[in-house]
Symmetry: C2
Subunit: 578 residues, 2 copies
Amino acid sequence: MRKLIRVDMTEGKIQVEELAPEYAALGGRGLTSGIVASEVPPLCHPLDPSNKLVVAAGLLAGTTCANSGRLSIGAKSPLTGGIKESNVGGNVAIKLGKLRIAGMVLEGQAPEGKLFYLLVNKDGVQLQPANEFKGLKNYDLASKLQDKYGKKVGIVSIGPAGEMKFSAASIAVTSTNGTPSRHAGRGGMGAVMGSKGMKAIVVDDKEAPGVTYADKEAFKEAAGVFRDALREHPVTKPGGGLAVYGTNVLASIINEAGGYPTRNFTEGQFEGVAKISGETLHDVIKERGGNPTHSGCSTCIIQCSNEYVDKDKNYVTSALEYETIWANGANCGIDDLDAIAEIDRLCDDYGLDTIETGCAVAVAMHAGVKAFGDGAGAIELIHEIGKGTPLGRILGSGTAVTGQAYGVSHVPVVKRQSLPAYDPRAVKGIGVTYATTTMGADHTAGYAVATNILKVGGFVDPLKPEGQADLSRNLQIATAGVDAAGLCVFVAFAVLDIPSGLEAIPQMLNGQYGWNLTLDDVMEYGKQIIKTELEFNKAAGFTPSDDRLPEFFSKEPLAPHNVVFDVSDEELDTVLDF
Amino acid sequence: MRKLIRVDMTEGKIQVEELAPEYAALGGRGLTSGIVASEVPPLCHPLDPSNKLVVAAGLLAGTTCANSGRLSIGAKSPLTGGIKESNVGGNVAIKLGKLRIAGMVLEGQAPEGKLFYLLVNKDGVQLQPANEFKGLKNYDLASKLQDKYGKKVGIVSIGPAGEMKFSAASIAVTSTNGTPSRHAGRGGMGAVMGSKGMKAIVVDDKEAPGVTYADKEAFKEAAGVFRDALREHPVTKPGGGLAVYGTNVLASIINEAGGYPTRNFTEGQFEGVAKISGETLHDVIKERGGNPTHSGCSTCIIQCSNEYVDKDKNYVTSALEYETIWANGANCGIDDLDAIAEIDRLCDDYGLDTIETGCAVAVAMHAGVKAFGDGAGAIELIHEIGKGTPLGRILGSGTAVTGQAYGVSHVPVVKRQSLPAYDPRAVKGIGVTYATTTMGADHTAGYAVATNILKVGGFVDPLKPEGQADLSRNLQIATAGVDAAGLCVFVAFAVLDIPSGLEAIPQMLNGQYGWNLTLDDVMEYGKQIIKTELEFNKAAGFTPSDDRLPEFFSKEPLAPHNVVFDVSDEELDTVLDF
């Protein structure tokens, strides 16, 4: 039986309980959204004690299943005002699985000015004072905790941005290399953790009991089929696009498709793309002796990560990813990989979502705070955030607030969360996902780019409105299921094209838990998660009016295709109407 | 027939048209809300060209009716995201009435960086370049325009805050003394005017044709009855509370009632109230040779205004009012009238809503940016706004953004607009108005303080939830009618207690326009205005969840009565359900 840890930060009390019956079949996003929807008042202020931060491992966490190391972190979001599941890799989820811990719920609020960290190991759970760590950046914090608890522990932590309760604050999770370089970036989960007075959670799985299996043989067989699918598909296989070039393999592809948002979403192609593409990134890292192909998440066999080094071969950051490079590159008109890598490192260190931050900087550039293309200027701005200067507080509050403070109306947000790295005018399927997902603009909630651009799972013309609603709906449902299982969203590339891989998912769950799920059940589970989230958002005041892109996407044609976003409101309203 | 002036700022074209049939019976808030609801896309960005700024005189503007000089300014609000009517006195509305102009609609957007002003007189309407006025504060701007067009013109203008498109930016209107000291403060209307590229509107009624009357005798008779009611009622009569002490007569009363929000709504009484009360204000002004009883709005016979002078008898500001003194006084823990007067002058000069600004400063003080009680510090903060520094941009974006930037959850806003000067826990009727009005927290939309505290129009116990919903509903409906007529909201004090005064309102309208309105018709008209506004807000994404006070008002008891806000959600939902 998996356990749930509840930490009452107001009283400093810890309770370890068996998962309640209504939560017993839930994991990952299913568990975070289930608890938030049941236990958090939808109209509470996200930084008030009545909000709860839920950290949950996926259902398959701790098993040998490939790419099952994702961690879900949920709460009412200070950025969107709605429910949030922010998904992150790293080495923590499998440790929780091995400790038979389904999740942790941070409740209440520590007394003003007090800071704590949580230690979780085979002996139990302890709350420790962390005032000595106040203001520490994530890298220093991780080092200190690793010095104390060993290099192999997993750490969930916040930097200064989370302590200052910025809406763009992320929660860091240690990578397999021990750096705090995996981030639950979206929706300001770091601010909620900061509001609780929790600086870090240390998870040590030494001598952990490990996962139990209802039918280990059945599990192993299904896990093998699943692994084979990942190893077979051209996108996910060893030597495939993701392994060789990382996620930034997309830069050239999306730019070619005219959907690479440039200079605050005013253009669809970036003249400097060749300088920051996946191919260039690979060559630079290789040439300098860094690691272009790296597995940042436990159990990962896709290896989309990398370790970026500077000209002197010193480690700078890990997983310099497509969205980060875009947000702080093309979207700011910056074509300097070293500057972008430094920004990524600073964001990881201060504890900031690289997407929200890059989009906020781009809006500030639109307002003339710095010039588009000014890499050194962008780096200065990130330091302003980390230092908590007034300018930093504007940017750290996200893209919508930055637009408001500078009187800019060209602000690419949905539900006050900034759009990721695909222009919805030229990749309309992802535009439907941005508009309709419960999460605010989020590409991972239903990655229609796969089918619009990469022709995975069929093909739907990215420039036409037809078929995008159905595409987004199916992907959003499937993704919710994948998120609950704790699988990496990239497994979708493989299983959308290889049916045996898809079938293996319920089979693994059945082998582990003794259930009798079919694939339809997993999809139904995905639907239920989204319904739960929709109900919370409705009670928090969201309506179909919130399921819309900003007006300029339907008014300003995007070069080179000169397209606007033209999926109708009526179609958008059908997407999650199930 | 009244005319409507449309100014296309994109093309620089002006169109003077007869009021369209669907607008012909509308005035003031009826006309602003009617045009905004019909012509502005509810989901547009408030600073985009598709928003429209409507400046409308009331139906009785230009007549001899007492206190008929209010001006309504409406648009989609950058602060709330909903429809907005911001109501202001001064000398402009009656000039428009005499020029037979019902209203002006600013549409589109001037080319980037261009600034204009509008000249309206008996010969027509002209758009003039105003680049020379860029960055000017309201007082200097008014002087320059008066030098050019004469001391008697009326001026509608924005200061630097409006040019910078701050959500707390007001629109100034000249007072009878020629100073730009009357402000359409709420909801960021100055930002919308700034986004259009309009710096000022000069209204010159020299040789204006004047108002036509369908039945002048009938009008005069009704106007006499109406005037008598104002002269008779203890609150509004010459020598009454408003005339002698101004609106700040309320400070002692509301403090005594335990509903005087102190230090960001954490207490209900202010220990320094005697230093900033209406009585003290009166004595200070009188002693220094200022003017404690002044009529700031054309046709006003109540004379709640004043002219505040410094120790050297130099004019500082006009109409140092209750809400301004509270927001920048008790709410910031400041008990220094001179500091508060300087803040008022600065807000008028930069073009800022004194309520939103004071509440934002109080939240910043809550976060420790300055100490509560630091008058000099508060003055510094207002200068930051005027200069457009990053800190100023946070504060200028309003109370909600200030809370977000500083991670403060104790943020007194409804629909992102800050609460005015009555704590809803101790004056529950006004709490119902704050929660439910279409405008975001606004006391003038249904001034239940009258009946809760002043026992005007009966008495409803301010500390009990019973009866508040009905009280607020009736007042909100009547107020919408009063706003459409262009009457000062203070006439309500008299006409709520003197039925003949109330009956005189439809009779004056009938005399002027040849209509056959009954009092019921006026109330029905008020309902229609609110319905129109509700429809716009619904389409803009508002739901009953937006008709709620922040959670802390129902959780944190307020001393000295130790009360929370306990009007139920169900009751709130009945208020505007007609």
